[in-house]
Symmetry: C2
Amino acid sequence: MELQELKDQITKNLEDGNLHNIKSLLSAYHPSEIAEILDYIDPEIHSNVLSSLDNETASEVLLELDDQHRHDLLEALDNEKIAHIVEEMDSDDAADVIADLAEADVAPVLSKLDPEEVEEVKSLLQYPEDTAGGIMQTELAEVTEDSTVRDAINWIRLIADELDDLQDIYVIDTAEKLLGTVSPKKLLLSNPGVKLKNIMTEPEVSVTPLIDQEEVAKIFEKYDIFALPVIDESGKLIGRITADDVIDVITEEASEDMYHLAGVQDQMHPIYTPTLTRIKLRTPWLLLTLVGELFIALIIVNVFQPTLQKVAILAAFMPAIMATGGNVGIQTTTIVIRSMGMGTITFSQIYKLVISEVKVGLSIGIICGLVAAIAGAIISKNETQFVKLAFAVFIAMVSATLATSFVGAASPLLLQKFKFDPAAASGPLLTMFNDIFGSLVYLFIAMLIF
Amino acid sequence: MELQELKDQITKNLEDGNLHNIKSLLSAYHPSEIAEILDYIDPEIHSNVLSSLDNETASEVLLELDDQHRHDLLEALDNEKIAHIVEEMDSDDAADVIADLAEADVAPVLSKLDPEEVEEVKSLLQYPEDTAGGIMQTELAEVTEDSTVRDAINWIRLIADELDDLQDIYVIDTAEKLLGTVSPKKLLLSNPGVKLKNIMTEPEVSVTPLIDQEEVAKIFEKYDIFALPVIDESGKLIGRITADDVIDVITEEASEDMYHLAGVQDQMHPIYTPTLTRIKLRTPWLLLTLVGELFIALIIVNVFQPTLQKVAILAAFMPAIMATGGNVGIQTTTIVIRSMGMGTITFSQIYKLVISEVKVGLSIGIICGLVAAIAGAIISKNETQFVKLAFAVFIAMVSATLATSFVGAASPLLLQKFKFDPAAASGPLLTMFNDIFGSLVYLFIAMLIF
């Protein structure tokens, strides 16, 4: 069916109060497709469409929406429906939705949930969103070491409804300490009477709940696994993280790095986020940068104005010097931040990395400096000045690329060392540093030689 | 054991020819840890260390290395060892390694492999690296629809050695057409005598081999799956893609976007890539940008020099105008490229998106323009000029942010429409556009009013 037709039918059925028809109309689509279809429909009726769906589908649709959109929808839904929807979710998703509710709605929604589910959600809500505990789920298959394969299968049968994805079966002792894992393949191929302790393998890797989600992502990349057990300090199994959730984490972390690099403070939906919020998320670094750039103006007015009055042509090459230095700096800082984000470089290689980046930056600076100096000599058309001008342009460009390579490589590493986000060494700040440094070096040399 | 000690012992054992000792020394470490340990050891002896390991461990270590490092190591290993190592790999990884060999080594290595494996590798090599076919593996569990659960388990037992991760069992007809899937959980819980066609579910989603790997990643994100079947045009099952490989794809694609945005042409290892290659990967966009910036110089010298000579203070505010416009443009293009990369926005929303970005850009431009104009008036200290100067600064800053918001939002969308990489609308080019536009508008207004 064409989207336009679908949209018209949904709107019409809604007006007529035929919620059941909407459900049948949408039954042909996957929840993630329904989430996309919502984008084409008037936001005012999104909550009605969601209410028309069965709880399981509604829960999956809700999880496919981006944060802002989900937040808006939750505000429009009544608590009864939210509780029914949350009950269909894995514990990690349920906790995310509860965390997203308005303060006043949390207690009413929790009161409508199954007490066991409330316990699980509460235990997950204690961990920050971006930690292993924040992305783990409590649904998993755990069996004691003396259980047989037959026992394990019977147990899985009992919990099958809440356990959407099986993956590894975790073997624990009576104190719930994690002893080993058994893959579904092993379970399928083993004799029903065999004890799990005889077929389990030691857990390849596990994490504690307060580990950063970025570290969790690196572990999945490194070990090529599909599920990762989460244990507390005593070794007790408290949850697991699955590959599908890690895929979302990697996407989110990469976005965060890109946005921070561009001086955007946080992720936002480019259409659903209100304009004012978007301006607030983007302006702070820009204003800080602007202050730095205006500082250049202050220095020029107070120190270099006579030089510029004498040799107005100097101003013509400021854009080239500042742009080249800025671009080289952004390249360097992007490479360093990405290498750190992907775990390509280890801490012991930091010194090597800075040296290597400065070497490349310097080479590029010399190449660009020569091109600019020659162009400067040609453009200036003045025999007495062109050598001096070319000299000032060359030295300024090489100094600027050298300085931004060093700062671009070293600042994310320093930020990391002091436990800040390396990507906070954002582009706008680097541009500002480069512009101040490049333009002042350039004008200072010019002042000396002219 | 301390790294330094480990390193010394490895070097010593190598000198003494005790390869077996190296193997025992490293047996305590996971292959991905051995890959990291290599970073601390003289690259000259990496191939000897790898040769000392058993083939399975060596194959896993090799796969953990980045491209450049792996390439270097393959060149140093003899073909016999490479063949043994490749035999231990999943077909997708084997194909990647074969594709990475020097032309002259391909035939000798293939001749040493099992003929069936050669067939598989050759069938995978026909697909471009960044497509579904390029990342799929041929190892999977497929059984015909009339097989019983017992038959399926027996079949899995037969192929268990080559099938590292089970995930979904694929149900096919006699022409190998994909009919449905059965999860390991379902297989475990079903009666041995039940036919698979009675318990299978329709495949939720599948792809053809020439689909771009970025689309594959989006499907994994959207459907929260662990494995995705790949079928040819006739519906015949030819491979599967697993979540662990998709995690690598997402990381790779995000890096590519970040590097392109920074005007770096391709991914590179920040230490192992030779300096000359790195300069080559980074210089092209920089030089192109430089030409644009030198064009500004040409115009200033030929058109605006008299104005600048008369009002030298004008030059003082050029950095602020160019930096603000450039930063706003980079923010916009980053948000748009990331939204496209994550599939946050659909094609029908493009028009909305551009409008929305221009609105935000204009607002930010007005805020920054006001700040700069006031600062300009204060800094200029000259009663007759300050109003004119503030006016020129304000108009130039608003025009520049408006223009870069529009270009920053529209250019990746246009590139996408014409099947280019949206991230090729790279930062350096946008900076160049902004600098040309911003500085010329500024000087033109100044020329008119002074």
